[in-house]
Subunit: 167 residues, 2 copies
DNA sequence: CGTAATTGTGGACTGAATCAAAAAAAATAA
DNA sequence: TTATTTTTTTTGATTCAGTCCACAATTACG
């Protein structure tokens, strides 16, 4: 069941079919993990014009319908993906923002069970692995590729030296 | 090892001791999961005046030093906690934002291992369980307590259901 | 103490995302 | 088809969390 036809997808969910939504879907099909801004750009390359708001609208309703998924990594703008419904997780590079999918660590969907629910009714387990991708590991010096310039984990390279705790 | 003396904590990490930092630490000791804004408020109740920036500064350096931890739930402002170094996770109520700690699902620190590293060097696994707390489950109607008003998962109650004849 | 370094203050500013009203396009009915 | 109604897009302003900046205040250290 590949059924990757965007028109059909929209229709099946009872959504109006608009050029903008189709373009957003295609953009997501092309690039797995795009930020709203990246999608705006991509869509503008395909369709000539689209408002930023229209992209947010599309992403919003598509997310609501469960057609796409929104991931909101700490300190970075949200990114979207069209792989849904299989409880996979993400591995994000702190340096360049590159995001890759990883399957659940312990098998099927064990992450969905917290050891103590504390009375909560859990509907989703979100797992993000933070690290450094191989490319950024290599260029560890100062290349600063910065696809998604995470401003929060402030660069802090060697500003406050004494990382190693004395005594 | 309770060693909850803020002055000592700061000193041990080679940080200057300022009224603002102490107040921030105390605020965090009092309330486990506070947003920057909530902390500003709390600190202003104790100390008379503190700039928002000072709070952000304090939270930033304390986070850098590993004295506190920053959690950035999708779509909500960051929250901070003073329980660090034990790889626990969080359970957040989508409705009211209430956050509780949960210990790692599968034992010690299994979540730290993704099944496929894809060449990444992982340094942290962030796990957030999303759900609804017991209180909000009860008041499922429309109480709208909204401690942290997650604006992203837009309420979307029945906006897109005009198909159903409303009588 | 006095001086240098660190930290705090207030205000302007940024970027991501949202809101709101009018214009345009789709869906539905005729 | 055309008319009409509903949904979506556009445009522009607005919020919100967080940051940047220059200068004043405080802290640490000799």
């Amino acid at each position: 069941m590949v059924r990757s036809d965007p028109v059909d997808t929209l229709r099946r969910h009872g959504l109006s079919i608009t050029a903008q939504r189709l373009a957003v879907l295609r953009a997501l099909a092309r690039r797995p993990h795009g930020s709203a801004d990246a999608i705006v750009e991509q869509v503008r390359a395909e369709i000539n014009v689209i408002s930023r708001q229209a992209v947010y609208n599309a992403l919003g309703t598509l997310t609501e319908k469960g057609i796409i998924r929104r991931i909101q990594p700490a300190g970075s703008p949200a990114i979207y993906e069209n792989r849904v419904g299989d409880n996979h997780h993400h591995l994000i590079c702190r340096t360049c923002g590159k995001t890759v999918d990883v399957d659940c660590a312990v098998g099927k969907a064990p992450c969905l069970k917290a050891s103590d629910h504390a009375g909560f009714q859990i509907d989703e387990a979100e797992v993000i692995y933070w690290g450094t991708c191989s490319k950024c590991l290599g260029a560890a010096s100062g290349i600063r590729d910065q696809a998604i310039p995470r401003r929060n984990l402030k660069v802090s390279a060697s500003k406050t030296e004494p990382k190693r705790n004395p005594i």
